[in-house]
């Protein structure tokens, strides 16, 4: 059953690419929409050429530094955003006064479209990786923060009372009860937050940088090289899929204590 599904999924992909190829190739069919036979290729690119661009990138090794930069930015944005979100989420979750005080500002900051901050980050952190990391952090932070904040309020009071009866001090409750359960909430939002870190990195690169896959796309757009643009998009998609798989694997390893967590993730896919 599974194998048959794979077959049809592959067929779907193949037919989409075939259609794309036939419709955009200058000589295969007479032009329908435009008079100029090269128009369709100009707007939509040509899949064969796109694949060739990607192969050339890897064959020449030219792509690796760009991929590496994007990966670095994604990883840094995720780690920094998650740690900040965890810390602030725990803090506000445990302190009624602090959460009441910060509540409207947190809501406002979350409502703000954070992509517009990118130019500001560029002024602050320059064109290197840190302005992209900063953008990713603002995206990741809120996801993790809200998860942890909500989670702190839902820690089982029985588990807390039990730990208290076993002699835990307030500090120890934080370290041995709140922190481990908060970490599990970080992991429950792992797919979304890693995705967001990636979005931050690519959008940052796109808006201004000298390296990264987003930068490649931006440069190709500047010279109307539509094939390279599509190649970049395809590469980003593959990259995101690999990243998502890595996250699933990490999840399965780290959340063994959670009943059927890995199973749920599989089913969702």
């Amino acid at each position: 059953m599974r194998r048959r599904l794979w077959f049809w999924q592959a067929m779907l992909l193949a037919s989409v690419f075939s259609f794309w190829h036939v419709a955009t190739h200058p000589e295969l069919i007479p032009p329908v929409v435009w008079d100029n036979p090269h128009r369709a290729a100009f707007f939509f690119g040509e899949p064969v050429k796109i694949v060739k661009v990607i192969i050339d990138w890897f064959a020449s090794g030219e792509i690796y530094p760009h991929l590496w930069v994007t990966l670095q930015e994604t990883a840094l944005a995720f780690v920094i955003g998650a740690v900040l979100g965890l810390a602030v989420g725990l803090w506000l979750g445990l302190s009624h006064f602090a959460s009441a005080l910060a509540d409207p500002y947190i809501k406002a900051m979350n409502a703000m479209p954070r992509v517009v901050l990118a130019p500001i980050f560029m002024v602050w952190f320059g064109l290197g990786i840190w302005s992209k990391v900063a953008l990713g952090v603002t995206l990741v932070f809120f996801i993790v923060f809200f998860n942890v904040y909500q989670g702190v309020k839902e820690v089982s009071p029985v588990v807390l009372n039990n730990a208290t009866m076993l002699g835990a001090t307030r500090r120890q409750l934080l370290r041995y009860v709140y922190l481990p359960s908060a970490t599990s909430w970080v992991f429950s939002s792992l797919h979304t937050s890693v995705g967001m870190a990636f979005v931050g990195a690519v959008v940052g690169e796109y808006l201004g940088s000298a390296r990264g896959v987003g930068y490649l796309i931006h440069m190709a757009e500047g010279s109307f090289d539509i094939n390279t643009v599509f190649a970049g998009i395809l590469l980003l998609t593959l990259f995101a899929l690999v990243l998502d798989q890595a996250v699933s694997m990490a999840e399965r390893r780290l959340l063994v204590w959670r009943p059927s967590q890995a199973g749920d993730a599989d089913r969702a896919l």
């Binding site: 089982s156 588990v159 009866m165 076993l166 041995y176 481990p180 204590w257």
Partner: protein, 269 residues
């Protein structure tokens, strides 16, 4: 024999949503001797857990006070171990790590605490299950872990809140016998909460019957003069057990009916 726990005129009232107050238990006085096994029975919702929380120091009584080995209790009762009615294990810790938790809180290092925890797991019949997480254990096994987790700290007073009520009958009888065996090896004072009169009689030296709520209070105390060591399933067939059961049940019946009528009224209201 000296007194381990003494409740003096304990009253507990909770504020209700409507702004009023609900008095769960009123003017309860009760003494438990050192090494004595006392069961508290009463209809569901009469305030048994509330009383136990007061003795544990997790809940401050509205009026009255608790003495532990002569000293007035303030804050958490460090001399007591508490076995909760619902799941209280830390789900992210393996069975072994759960048993060792109390020693972690005391700052004992793992080199000395792990062997102790292994020994306790063995004593509750879970040798070889140390690396399982709570969700990988059956309900009965989780209760055994809770028991080991409590007993490893060697508390002088054991507070048990319907610990076996969620188990099937066979597992329950097994656990009751094991509890008696562990207890007789090293007699602690026990306050054992249950709504099951047979369980109360077969385990205890004394049974205290609470009236139905609100304003629940003890309405009878019965010495259980059955010989020890006991086998809980066999002792239930002896004439003395049946006579005691008849006597206590007779006194309880009105309260159970009252409690039942109140719950029904509350549901229909």
């Amino acid at each position: 024999m000296s007194i381990a726990v003494e409740l003096e005129g304990v009253t507990c009232a909770f504020s209700t949503k409507g702004g009023g107050a609900y008095t769960a238990v009123k003017d309860v006085s009760l003494a438990v001797a050192e090494g004595e096994f006392v069961s508290v029975v009463g209809p569901t919702g009469c305030g048994k857990s509330t009383l136990l929380n007061v003795v544990a120091g997790l809940l401050k009584p509205t009026e009255g006070r608790v003495r532990v080995l002569g000293d007035v209790l303030s804050g958490v009762n460090a001399r007591a171990g508490y076995m909760f009615q619902s799941e209280a294990l830390m789900p992210w810790r393996s069975a072994l790590d759960n048993v060792v938790a109390g020693l972690d809180f005391r700052g004992e290092d793992r080199a000395s605490s792990y062997p102790k925890a292994e020994a306790w797991l063995e004593r509750v019949g879970l040798a070889g299950f140390g690396n399982r997480y709570p969700h990988q254990l059956s309900g009965g096994m989780r209760k055994r872990v809770s028991l080991a987790q409590m007993l490893i700290l060697d508390p002088q007073i054991l507070l048990m809140d319907e610990p076996f009520s969620a188990l099937d009958v066979q597992t329950r009888v097994l656990m009751e016998n094991e509890l008696l065996e562990l207890w007789s090896a090293n007699r602690k004072s026990v306050i054992f909460i249950t709504h099951d009169l047979e369980e109360a009689i077969s385990l205890s030296d004394r049974v205290v019957v609470l009236s139905a709520g609100p304003a629940s209070r003890p309405i009878g105390e019965y010495l259980i003069d059955l010989p020890r060591p006991r086998d809980v399933s066999e002792i239930r067939l002896t004439p003395r057990f049946i006579a005691l059961h008849d006597k206590i049940w007779h006194a309880m019946k009105d309260e159970v009916l009252k409690g039942y009528a109140q719950t029904r009224n509350r549901v229909s209201a």
